[in-house]
Amino acid sequence: MAGKTVAEKILSAHAGCAARPGDLVVCDVDFLMLHDVFAHLAMDGFRKMGGTRVFDPDRVAIIFDHSSPAPNRKTANIHALTRTFAKEQGVRFHEAGEGVCHQLMVEKGYAKAGDLILGTDSHTCTYGAVGALATGIGATDAAVTLLTGQQWLRVPPTVRIEFTGALQPMCLAKDAILAAIGRLGVGGASYRAIEFHGDWLAGAPLADRMTVGNMAVEMGAKCGITIFDGMKIAPDPDAAYESTVRIDLDSLAPAVAFPHMVDEVKPVSEAKNIPVQQGVIGSCTNGRIEDFRIAADILRGKSVKGRLLVMPASNAVLGQMADEGVLAVLLAAGAVLCTPGCGVCCGTIGGVPADGERVIATTNRNFRGRMGNNQAEVYLASPATVAASMLTGVISDPRDLL
């Protein structure tokens, strides 16, 4: 019998039986994450089933990040109800401005290696970066887990994506994951677990692994687990993979995902000189200190052309940006600081582009209307490519700055 992939191991452990691809199992869940917009829907479902106490308050976190701080009265009142529930139940709670749910789940240590984690957000897959099996669910599924601490799941086959070689100068983790998405397509790993392999990734910092894991869902994957040195639950050497895809980093150029699909990935040379009116550096994909250091190195002593929005993934990241002088560099270049959270990425608070405008962003989605205006275009890229483009006002190759 073949060995197991990470997903098969974690699901077997949490279902209490040998879980093979295609099986439908009921699992014990280690942690449930709810954010400010969907928490109240989960609370409604919880009550509809007669729920009074959540399964384990230490294993539930409610995080205010999507529509926070509250932009209008209705949202504020929903937030108030959710705060009350969080307090009554004694769950872990993070107020508006503390950061994006996925960043906090990792920073606070709620997501741990070998865990099974569910969250009311499709980018819950981010915690594959710490070796957890983490996946997004809707509010009704969340209600069930909130009450029972369990959930039914189908065991996915695993696709192995192997990054060979090494990242070249000015090429970053974002370029690697965009290349993978361009190769597989937005449905290319639908219902699959992805394991991301390769020497680069095995020794890469957590920030890079989070960038990679974060975008697994953009290929339709259930989860995206990064394989790194010393990980607690590793794949068996004879694990059976449905397929293997190799992405060669030695020949990789900085990448841009063209509007309006995440898999419209082309080398930056094909995007050169497209005018952009707004840049965004931040989000759960690329909102960590490492990303802002790169941007600061490019923008130091210069001025941006156009509007650059900077959105740290947490207030801890923001504090570090301030301590290191990175924040001062970005502000001096003309950047505008936004609340640590999701607002700019999903068009809820701030940074909505005008009709006909183009945005270049380090975020993870560029579907039509994503940032709040269906008459605007969003290009996705790495922090280096976005920073280089804000120097010129047109999409630019960061390698030209070397």
């Binding site: 439908l24 009921v26 917009v37 969907f38 829907l41 479902g45 509809k48 089933m49 007669g50 999507h66 529509s67 209008n72 209705k74 949202t75 929903i78 009311t120 957000d121 499709s122 997004g136 669910i137 809707g138 509010a139 009704t140 599924d141 209600a143 069930v144 009450l147 029972t148 369990q150 959930q151 039914w152 189908r154 937005v186 449905g187 639908s190 219902y191 339709g220 259930k222 699909m261 999903c346 068009g347 809820t348 989605r365 579907f367 039509r368 209307g369 994503r370 940032m371 709040g372 269906n374």
Partner: protein, 168 residues
């Protein structure tokens, strides 16, 4: 049990930002308000003209993208009787089950149906009936059928908890 309705035809990778835009997702609204915004940013006349009983027919990877349950609720509130597709994204499938919106995976039927035609779905015989022919679709796995029979996930879990004290 069978349904019959006008087909609205879509291609591959119709994401949940197209089905229910982000600019509405994070605003509290009633289900009838959601119905007004269904497929608002997608091509075609659905948003303006779709009526109760209509059927959405799509290509691969229907409902990819964000986990927003409104992408299901909006179609259900609009009266969409079923979605027939070549494949469906996993969070959308789960949300649809939980909201009672039938999502049928039947690639041959999708190829056979054109925009504006009438499609019929026979849930007892697991058949999609198109002008061009009849196409079978598979049963749900047993556990999922149990949920559907119980009237949805919440009703199913409530029943499981009272009978066994847990979900399984």
């Amino acid at each position: 049990m069978a349904i019959e309705g006008r087909v609205w035809k879509y291609g591959d990778d119709i994401n949940t930002d197209l089905i229910f835009p982000g600019r509405y997702t994070y605003i509290l609204m009633s289900e009838s308000e959601m119905a007004d915004h269904a497929l608002e940013d997608a091509e075609g006349g659905f948003n303006r003209e779709a009526a109760a009983g209509d059927i959405v027919v799509a290509g691969k990877n229907w409902g990819c993208g964000s986990s927003r349950e409104q992408a299901v609720k909006a179609l259900k509130a609009r009266g969409v009787a079923a979605v027939i597709c070549k494949s469906v994204a996993r969070i959308y499938f789960r949300n649809a089950l939980n909201e009672g919106l039938p999502v049928i995976v039947c690639p041959e039927a999708c190829d056979a149906l054109a925009d504006g035609e009438t499609a019929e779905v026979d849930f007892r015989r697991n058949l999609v009936v198109a002008p061009a022919g009849s196409f079978p679709f598979p049963n749900y796995p047993e556990y999922i059928q149990g949920m559907v029979d119980a009237g949805g996930l919440l009703a199913f879990v409530k029943k499981q908890l009272s009978e066994r004290g847990k979900m399984k």
